[in-house]
């Protein structure tokens, strides 16, 4: 049919570009417009590669002690020196990124997701539900993050799973607050009324119609929490209330001997801190640019 053809080809125009090509274009645009964000993203990617491939890249077993080479300064065999047990600092750093990434992604994902669902649901139901949820969130928000995390760790004990729980719980109310304020505007949109009029269940409206529309603030929260979670994990581990020895974790590497022998063996205290800073820096750099790109209010013309 002659008339059908142009209509079809018009419909085809947006899909002419394959998904891969579209992503490639978006990535290229992001790199050009936000070089700082692109640098951040590259460091994050390197960090992830290191975390996944730590067992291939690390020159030594991160747990292997070598009492012949205790507190050795950086040399050709141990590029970043060894710690008080003769463990290779570089290998422990590489394996430590595994712990940091695991904790970072798990906490940020669960914190932002559970928080977003609670926040959006609270905005959607409004009225009494909203009021009660808000008051409960206020209670959690009155605790500094680290204080609540410390209390939770003392209940469940140390270890990586409990640390993730202890960091995630204080993040949830913070995420809920942000998600709720973006969802308040969405609730008034005609398509939500339409969905309600169509007789959809609450669950479906919240999950299918409202949540996707707070995606921008969700992604911003996710990247911001990644860095925060890594910092908190390092703090908890440094206090001895986080990941337990002998697991390789950056905060743990700064603890005890690193401070005790800081003057004679400064590499023990310097490198893990640099690793933490660099990882969090990269997440923040990327997250900041992402926020600028996603938040139309902050977009510069």
């Amino acid at each position: 049919m002659a008339i059908g053809r142009p209509a079809e080809s018009i419909a085809e125009i947006p899909t002419a570009e394959s998904t891969a090509a579209r992503w490639f274009r978006i990535v290229r645009q992001f790199c050009r417009q936000r070089p700082l964000g692109a640098i951040g993203a590259v460091i994050v990617l390197i960090n992830l590669v290191v975390a996944v491939g730590a067992n291939v890249m690390a020159p030594y077993d991160p747990l292997a002690t070598d009492y012949g080479a205790m507190l050795a300064a950086p040399n050709r065999a141990h590029w970043l020196g060894t710690d008080a047990f003769g463990r290779d600092v570089l290998s422990r750093l590489l394996y430590g990124s595994r712990t940091a990434m695991l904790v970072g992604f798990a906490c940020a994902f669960w914190g932002a997701t559970v928080g977003a669902v609670i926040g959006v649901a609270s905005a959607y139901f409004a009225g009494k539900v909203d009021l009660i949820v808000q008051r409960v969130m206020d209670i959690f928000l009155a605790f500094p993050l680290i204080i609540l995390a410390l209390a939770i760790v003392s209940i469940f004990g140390t270890g990586i799973g409990n640390v993730i729980l202890a960091i995630t719980i204080p993040m949830i109310p913070r995420a809920a607050l942000v998600a709720r304020s973006s969802a308040l505007a969405i609730r008034e949109m005609p398509y939500i009324d339409a969905a309600r009029a169509a007789g959809f269940r609450h669950k479906r409206i919240i999950l299918r119609h409202m949540l996707p529309n707070v995606m921008a603030s969700y992604l911003i929260m996710l990247t911001a929490y990644l860095g925060q979670a890594i910092l908190l994990e390092a703090s908890l581990s440094f206090l001895g209330l986080g990941v337990a020895e002998p697991t390789a974790a950056w905060g743990l590497m700064l603890r005890g001997a690193a401070v005790q022998f800081a003057e004679s063996a400064p590499w023990m205290a310097i490198f893990p801190g640099l690793a933490i800073s660099l990882a969090v820096f990269a997440f923040n750099l990327f997250g900041d640019s992402l926020r600028d790109a996603l938040d139309p209010r902050l977009r510069t013309q």
């Binding site: 209670i139 959690f140 009155a142 800081a262 003057e263 750099l285």
Partner: protein, 317 residues
């Protein structure tokens, strides 16, 4: 305005009560109690009857609800009880640490303000130039660097470069200001850097927003000096969100410096909190949490008041 204040004060009560319930039960869920911990070292005395006797003395044998009501009725009369671990009145335990934490928080705030406001304004005026990029990288790095590690680096640098170690024992300011400042300036700088990063970013974005307003254009159009526009028109209007983050950060500093205090061997509120949780010192932990939460809620309240005072529309929402 009066009605608004009353409403906001009344809203604080359920939140504080909620905090009290939460921390009371959280503490009781923590495995092991103070009596077991105290007798742990002396197995000879750790017979059940001795433990029970001690529990009776501390009132831990009572039903939870009774304990909670007793604690609450004390608080209402400003009686926080005594520390279960040391037996000293809690007010005394906290008072010592409070001065230190307060002084450190004030010093860190000064560091933060002195850095943040000029840098933030500069970055906003020179948006998208290398100055802006430098300030942004500096402040993002501030958010990324753990304060406690920065503290370790400071101590290391002082040791290696100047062969000098800051005093590790706290001297009150009125006893010896020099000794006192020589110790506290380092943690204040370490914490202040992160703190200034938060404030710099807020100053920058608030300034950017204000600089786009019509009245700034008007001021420019009538030929006002750039400096006058910035100080009189822009900065004044951009200050409110900056003051908000500074105030909230200050409240956080009072109880949240758990790790930095550890590095500098400071006996502040954060260190006291870690110790009291480790000892399962219920009364002290509860009092500390209530204090920190109260300060945070109170600062929030002040911020809300400031907004309501400056923007009358808020009062009627």
């Amino acid at each position: 305005m009066g009605k608004y204040i009353v409403k906001r004060v009344l809203l604080m009560v359920p939140t504080l009560l909620g905090v009290a319930v939460l921390i009371f039960f959280l503490m009781r869920v923590v495995p092991g109690d103070i009596v077991e911990l105290r007798f742990a070292g002396e197995s000879a005395f750790a017979q059940k009857e001795n433990l029970d006797k001690e529990r009776v003395r501390l009132g831990l044998d009572q039903p939870l609800l009774t304990q909670f009501i007793r604690w609450m009725s004390g608080i209402v009369q400003f009686d926080f009880g005594t520390s279960m671990w040391t037996g000293a009145p809690i007010i005394e335990e906290i008072k010592l640490r409070f001065t230190l934490s307060m002084q450190l928080a004030i010093m860190a705030t000064i560091v933060a303000v002195v850095l943040a406001i000029p840098l933030g304004v500069l970055a906003a005026i020179k948006q998208d130039t290398w100055i802006d990029y430098t300030v942004r990288i500096f402040s993002i790095a501030g958010l990324a660097t753990p304060s406690f590690w920065l503290g370790i680096v400071f101590i290391l640098l002082l040791l290696i470069v100047f062969k000098w170690l800051p005093p590790m024992v706290y001297t009150p300011f009125w006893v010896s200001p020099v000794q006192n400042l020589a110790q506290l300036i380092w943690p204040a700088l370490a914490v202040g850097y992160r703190y200034s990063a938060v404030a710099t970013r807020m100053t920058r974005s608030a300034m950017l927003e204000v600089l786009r307003e019509d009245y700034i254009r008007t001021a420019r159009a009538k030929g006002l000096w750039q400096n006058l526009i910035l100080s009189r028109h822009a900065l004044k209007n951009a200050m409110l969100p900056v003051l908000t983050v500074i105030a909230l950060e200050f409240a956080f500093l009072m109880g949240g410096l758990v790790v930095t205090e550890q590095v500098f061997n400071l006996n502040g509120l954060g260190m006291l909190f870690v110790e009291s949780v480790a000892h399962r010192d219920y009364t002290l932990t509860q009092a500390l949490v209530m204090l920190v939460a109260f300060m945070f809620i109170f600062v929030n309240f002040l911020v809300d008041l400031a907004y309501a005072w400056l923007d009358p529309r808020i009062r009627f929402r």
